[in-house]
């Protein structure tokens, strides 16, 4: 644990980052910006896992494993999303959310 920094302060920072991510997710109209917001949300949750593991149960490692798995899933998700975005841009020349109406078939 960090000397002089309580768990409340770190949880405050991660909460604020999480809600900034939610705000970006709801207000931006661009697929890549939405992806950036999702990364913010996932990162806040990863820090929460690790900090709770370190401060409350220091002799276990579950939080570390879960955060590693979250990072792996986030990487896979980003790669897939970016390939979908690039493919979409090739077909309709736009990455705005409102223009993507043709993904159903």
């Amino acid at each position: 644990m960090i000397e002089g920094i309580t768990i409340y302060e770190i949880l405050t920072v991660t909460t604020i980052i999480f809600f900034i991510g939610v705000y970006g997710f709801l207000t931006r109209k661009n697929l890549i910006s939405i992806l950036i917001s999702v990364e913010l949300i996932l990162n806040a949750s990863v820090v929460n896992f690790v900090v709770i593991n370190k401060y409350l149960y220091p002799d276990m490692l579950q939080g570390v494993f879960f955060s590693i798995f979250i990072i792996a899933v986030a990487a896979a998700e980003t790669a897939l999303a970016i390939s979908i975005i690039i493919n979409l841009y090739r077909q309709i020349s736009s990455v705005e959310v409102e223009d993507t109406e043709m993904m159903k078939h």
Binding site: Y8, I36, V64, L80
Partner: protein, 160 residues
């Protein structure tokens, strides 16, 4: 870090907001270093700051003109969303501060060897099965990304 996060979601130029996201991710890696999980900080730096940021910069450069200003939501919708997010932050923070965490004072430092042996152990508390599953997921995601990014283009050419 919070300032950079706000800048990442508020900035209207794509490339700048990706760079602000990079600063946020490096700051989170700094938190991991501070609480003595060196392996996790290294993973964060390589996977996020190395891989995902480069992917995003690639896609931004492929998709946008750099100086293009993005359109954002209407001001009314922005204000409503901001108020909702502030209320949510307030609720979560009051809950956090109302809860008593029984913090264990400790100075245990976890080595990478610990993490590796626990992750690959077959005994109770080992994480071998999720490890294998996540490797399959990564492989499927890679193949899927290649297929999506490449296959549609070929069919398009055929249609043209």
């Amino acid at each position: 870090m919070i300032v950079f996060a706000i800048a990442a979601v508020r900035n209207r130029k794509m490339l700048r907001s990706v760079i602000y996201l990079l600063f946020v991710l490096v700051g989170i890696a700094g938190i991991f270093f501070l609480i003595d999980y060196n392996f996790l900080a290294a993973v964060q730096l390589t996977v996020y700051a190395g891989g995902i940021i480069v992917l995003m910069i690639f896609s931004v450069l492929l998709v946008h003109h750099i100086e293009l200003e993005l359109e954002v939501a209407k001001p009314l919708k922005q204000i409503i969303t901001a108020i909702t997010c502030l209320v949510g932050t307030g609720i979560v923070l009051t809950n956090i501060y109302a809860h008593e965490f029984n913090v264990v004072e400790n100075n245990i430092s976890t080595t990478t060897a610990d993490i590796g042996s626990r992750m690959l152990s077959y005994e109770a508390g080992g994480f071998i099965l999720p490890f294998e599953v996540i490797s399959v997921v990564l492989l499927a995601a890679m193949i899927g990304a290649i297929v999506i990014a490449k296959g549609k283009k070929l069919t398009n050419k055929n249609e043209d």
